[in-house]
């Protein structure tokens, strides 16, 4: 923990700094520049000051209304998938085998959805959930439940949530599994000696050991679901109506679809600020856990 203080370390960080600055700062400056201007096309820009930002924060305007409702949908989406993926991921991790060939087999199968290009994830579910040629859509309709994600907003949401659960639960499960694997056997033996119930083992041994990885899992899942674009875009295109139009979809529509650069830029900045704020909270929590770690670990060393 007592790392030496040495500002020459900056030299080692410099290459990373250069590339990330090139990739992040220059574009962000463009965005800020756009956000205070308006255009009539033909690359003619004029000063608009904070106009777009005022509109953005005003729910009664067109822009403000669209952003607010897509923000709401995004938050609802993130909430739903976290509520499903975290408990399911923990349950799957607890059920995973600990030894033998089954471990490798399970890991490989579980990791597969994570390595599928995101638009192919969309394609897979687009096909799988269709009523005419998809197994899922066909089976659900056969059961007498009307299901069509193209016309029914609820069906569209169910499809997108199922797709996200399919795509990302393995990430949560693999993280938790890594946390569980780090628990020495003596803990389970001691718990048996102490007469602990299965629940107590989970509550007092497994959950505390998974806490750190769970925070990483929640952080990654929240952020990635908050900027989800490709998968729902392929499946529903944001519809029916605007029912699955999330922030990123709205933004790309504005920027590349309508070339409303000013609005899009202002929205980008607001979007990024929200992300930064959430990220900061998680980062603070995680660094605090890092401080606690060394003492906690010395005991478990084996």
């Amino acid at each position: 923990m007592d790392r030496p203080y040495d500002n020459r370390a900056w030299l080692l960080v410099l290459p990373v700094l250069a590339i990330v600055a090139f990739s992040a700062v220059i574009p962000l400056m463009t965005v800020v520049n756009y956000s205070v201007q308006d255009t009539f096309g033909n690359n003619q820009f004029f000063w608009n000051g904070a106009g777009w930002f005022k509109e953005l924060l005003d729910p009664s305007s067109d822009l403000g209304g669209r952003v607010l409702s897509s923000l709401g949908r995004n938050l609802a989406f993130s909430g739903i998938i976290l509520a499903i993926e975290v408990p399911l991921g923990i349950a799957v991790a607890l059920a995973m085998p600990r030894e033998g060939w089954k471990v490798a087999a399970t890991l490989v199968l579980m990791a597969m959805p994570l390595l599928v290009p995101w638009n192919v994830v969309g394609t897979i579910w687009q096909v799988f959930a269709r009523g005419d040629i998809g197994l899922l859509g066909y089976a659900v309709n056969k059961l007498g439940i009307p299901y069509n994600y193209v016309s029914d907003p609820i069906a569209a949401w169910v499809t997108i949530v199922a797709m996200d659960v399919w795509h990302w639960t393995s990430l949560v499960a693999l993280l938790c599994y890594a946390g569980l694997k780090s628990i020495p056997d003596a803990y389970y033996q001691a718990a048996r000696i102490d007469g602990a119930s299965r629940w107590a083992v989970f509550r007092f041994i497994q959950l505390p050991k998974m806490r750190r990885v769970l925070i990483i899992a929640v952080l990654l899942r929240f952020m990635d679901s908050f900027m989800i674009y490709t998968e729902p875009f392929v499946v529903t295109g944001g519809g029916p109506g605007n029912s699955t139009t999330f922030l990123s979809i709205e933004l790309v529509k504005l920027a590349l679809g309508q070339f409303d650069l000013g609005k899009a830029a202002a929205m980008s900045i607001a979007y990024n600020l929200v992300i930064l704020a959430v990220c900061w909270v998680f980062y603070t929590v995680m660094t605090n856990l890092d401080v606690e770690r060394p003492q906690a670990e010395t005991g478990a060393a084996s």
Binding site: R3, P4, Y5, D6, N7, A9, V13, V16, I19, V20, S23, A24, P27, T30, L88, V92, A95, T106, L107, V108, L109, M110, A111, M112, P113, L114, L115, V116, P117, W118, N119, V120, T123, I124, V127, D132, I133, L135, S170, L174, A178, G179, Y188, R212, V213, M223, M227, Y229, T230, L247, S248, L251, V252, A255, Y271, N272, I275, L276, C279, Y283
Partner: protein, 288 residues
């Protein structure tokens, strides 16, 4: 001592066997159902790629009546299809190499030293991993057009550095922090220079970490499409974007779409197979 460790390991394994022995196997049921849920959509994609379009649209069959490889033949013989794979793999490879080379020294700095603004810098890097690519789509388009890299693999590879470099730094820092600093000090005392120490001693120690990092860089570059599609038109078009071509005037070519989809799964499966033993630790980003 090694004999003791062996006994301890043997004890541990047979103890855990005894433990799982009397648990009600709700776990196995959960796991089986979950894996089934994961595999069904993939199964559907695979068998669809082996069907003719006539069979796909004419009715529901759980198994192709007549297996056809025509869809795959189309992809492997048509340059506009298979060049998509080559484009994708080339920018993914460039990005992975670039990310790791840049991230290695930075991760070392973060894991070994404190310096002015280190915490803020680390946070700022991480925040870029979290930034929505949608924000960057348009500015990147302008930027890479301006410097003449538009529609080359380099544009996509550099753009993906935006989230892969911070991720690589983060993962490598986790692995490096697990290596005791005494190793560095011993090497310096033995007269190693920093570059020689780094290449000869340190890199082999964190080889697993580098493998895991490469896996993640590959993964996130391979699956991303928004930026990859925005920054390419013809020459460097990734396979995932090529797939949108199947929507044509003549209606959807479902079989071809499915076959292309199946082929995009293959590199992922291969990569997972190579890292399967480190996957669990890797997903915890070296932080367990």
């Amino acid at each position: 001592m090694s004999a003791e460790t062996a006994t301890a390991a043997a004890t541990a394994s047979s103890v855990s066997r005894a433990r799982s022995g009397f648990r009600i196997d709700g776990g196995a049921i959960t796991l089986t159902l979950y894996l089934l849920f994961l595999m069904l959509p993939i199964y559907w994609l695979v068998i669809m790629s082996l069907k003719t379009n006539a069979e796909i649209t004419s009715g529901m069959t759980l198994w192709p009546q007549q297996i056809t490889f025509a869809n795959y033949r189309t992809i492997f013989t048509d340059a506009s299809w298979y060049s998509g794979y080559i484009n994708s793999l080339s920018y993914v490879a460039i990005n992975t190499v670039l990310s790791i080379c840049l991230a290695l020294p930075a991760a070392y700095a973060f894991s070994r030293y404190r310096f002015l603004g280190d915490k803020h810098l680390f946070f700022w890097l991480l925040s870029n991993r979290m930034a929505p690519p949608a924000i960057f789509a348009l500015p990147f388009f302008n930027l890479y057009s301006a410097i003449g890299l538009f529609d080359t693999p380099w544009a996509v590879a550099l753009a993906h550095c935006l989230f892969n470099v911070p991720l690589a730094v983060w993962i490598l820092e986790g692995f490096m922090s697990g290596v005791p600093r005494e190793i560095d000090e011993t090497a310096y005392l033995d007269g190693y220079s920093f570059p020689r120490f780094f290449a000869k001693i340190f890199m082999p120690i964190i080889a697993n970490g580098i493998g895991v990092t490469a896996f993640f860089c590959f993964m996130f570059s391979w699956v991303e499409l928004l930026l990859a599609r925005t920054l390419t038109t013809v020459n460097a078009k990734p396979i995932a974007a090529t797939m949108t071509r199947t929507v044509s005037a003549a209606g959807m070519d479902w079989g071809l779409l499915a076959a292309a989809g199946v082929l995009t799964l293959v590199p992922g499966v291969l990569v997972i197979w190579f890292v399967r033993n480190y996957i669990a630790k890797g997903f915890a980003l070296g932080r367990v």
